[in-house]
Amino acid sequence: SSIVLVFEAPMGTRRNFDAGWDDGGRNNGWTWCIGNGQHVKVGQKLGRV
């Protein structure tokens, strides 16, 4: 089984935490908190605006 989420969100300047960027919380766009192949659990953060 699979679950696909498609959603609209503001574009951010920081696409992924993996990129190592940290703008001190000034970024107000969508930011991913996951990586490909990562195992996730219910309730775990996938990303934030």
């Binding site: 089984s1 699979s2 679950i3 696909v4 989420l5 498609v6 959603f7 609209e8 969100a9 503001p10 574009m11 696409r15 766009g29 969508w30 991913w32 908190c33 996951i34 990586g35 490909n36 192949g37 990562q38 195992h39 996730v40 659990k41 219910v42 309730g43 775990q44 953060k45 996938l46 990303g47 934030r48 605006v49």
Partner: protein, 420 residues
């Protein structure tokens, strides 16, 4: 018998050419009849007079021989049979060793399940749809986050560009193929917004400006053509159902408060011109917890059920079969959240079977009746001169008239995948 086999003289004669041609013609006729009966797309679909509706079009998947073989199998029948098998009551003595073996093979953490006594699960279907202890899956407290709706593995995530969702390693499928096109009533141009007000000329201008922005920046999605946000139930076809179930007042209040953080505009008008569409694909392995939860506070306005076929959605097959998700049976829940459009799509697989949505008692997946309903819907749409959109649709307007849909809180259980 031995002497007859050895001593009988064998004489070979050529088959008359006419007989050979006749046989090949008969074979071709039989194949075309069979294809039409099965609903596979043929060049001459429908008759000239229009009395008989054309067969429901299905696309035969392309791919390597493994996929071709799989496409010939009666996957739905196998899935239903597999489901029946898994509903057989297991002997009491077999349950503990059987479920422990299953857990060992597929990596189930038995310490997390709500009912630790394995004797309480009468069959594999019940164990597969097990509940977890209340505190083992804490919800991330960040109010601006989207949380994982299920246990699983991230297969792919990113931004949707040019209306294409990347599946795995460069294989893409269009957003419209996944979610479905605008239904006929929506395509007719109902311009009432999801907030219950008529779209003003300014809204139209904003929308045009947004589309222009999206086009220039290569984010060519056209949300208004995917689904319009009308506030009243307007079934796309006669078989659409108004699957209304009462929502919890607490959920309604919380979701309403969360949505109020937005600017109250219709979801298809973005808050700023810098919005984008994002996607994430989560794969649930056989040993994972198979219930899913709401990833954020949002309102489900409608659902679309694509009967499709059932395949495996394993990463291996996703690499082998382009457009796998668009061939599979899936339920598309369309709605909105604080930042605009939001869609939740559970995709079924043959070895799992049916998709359950807790607040939609009328939804039946992986069943014979859905096949029949889809066929009837296709025939009716043709009779009414409308294109068949390939799905049956239901709206949740009656669930909460204030919100125009069914409200879901973050972390709230929405449904799950069941065996069979």
């Amino acid at each position: 018998l031995k002497s007859a086999w050895r001593d009988t003289k064998i004489e070979w004669y050529p088959i008359p050419i006419g007989l050979g041609i006749g046989f090949l013609g008969l074979l071709q006729f039989y194949r075309s009849q069979r294809a039409e009966k099965d609903g596979w797309e043929t060049a001459e679909s429908g008759d000239v007079d229009g009395d008989r509706p054309p067969p429901r079009k299905r696309v035969r998947p392309s791919g390597p021989w493994q996929v071709q073989v799989m496409s010939t199998l009666p996957l739905k029948a196998i899935s239903r049979l597999w489901g029946r098998f898994n509903e057989l009551i297991l002997p009491y003595w077999f349950r503990v060793p059987g479920f422990k073996l299953y857990s060992w093979i597929f990596g189930v953490n038995l310490d997390e399940i709500a009912e630790p006594d394995l004797h309480a699960y009468p069959n594999l279907a019940a164990f597969f749809y097990r509940k977890l202890k209340p505190d083992v899956r804490p919800i991330d407290p960040d109010p601006c986050a989207i949380v994982s709706p299920a246990d699983g593995r991230i297969l792919q995530f990113g931004i949707i560009e040019k209306g294409e969702v990347e599946q795995v390693k460069g294989m893409t499928y269009s957003l419209e193929a996944l979610l479905g096109q605008a239904s006929p009533s929506q395509a007719a141009g109902d311009d009432t917004s999801s907030q219950g007000r008529k779209a003003s000329p300014k809204d139209s201008a904003d929308m045009a400006m947004h589309e222009e922005f999206a086009r220039v920046n290569g984010i060519s999605y056209t949300l208004p053509t995917l689904i319009s946000g009308e506030a009243k139930a307007s079934p796309a076809i006669e078989f659409s159902m108004d699957a209304s179930t009462a929502s919890k007042p607490s959920s309604e209040a919380k979701v309403k408060a969360d949505l109020a953080l937005g600017d109250g505009r219709p979801w298809y008008l973005p808050k700023t011109s810098s919005n984008a569409l994002y996607y994430v694909v989560i794969y649930l392995a056989p040993g994972d917890y198979h219930r899913f939860h709401s990833p954020n506070s949002w309102v489900v306005e409608s659902r679309r059920h694509f009967a499709g076929e059932l395949y495996s959605v394993s990463p291996y097959l996703q690499r082998m079969l382009p457009g796998l998700f668009t061939l599979n049976e899936r339920v598309v829940l369309l709605g909105r959240w604080r930042w605009g459009f939001f869609t939740f799509i559970p995709v079924g697989a043959t070895n799992v079977g049916s998709i359950k949505i807790n607040f939609d008692a009328e939804l039946r997946t992986n069943s014979l009746t859905t096949d029949t309903a889809a066929d009837r819907a296709a025939a009716l749409a043709t009779k009414k001169g409308q294109p068949y959109t390939g799905f049956t649709e239901a709206t949740y307007f009656n669930s909460s008239k204030a919100l125009g849909g069914h409200p879901l809180e973050r972390g709230e259980e929405m449904g799950g995948f069941q065996l069979g």
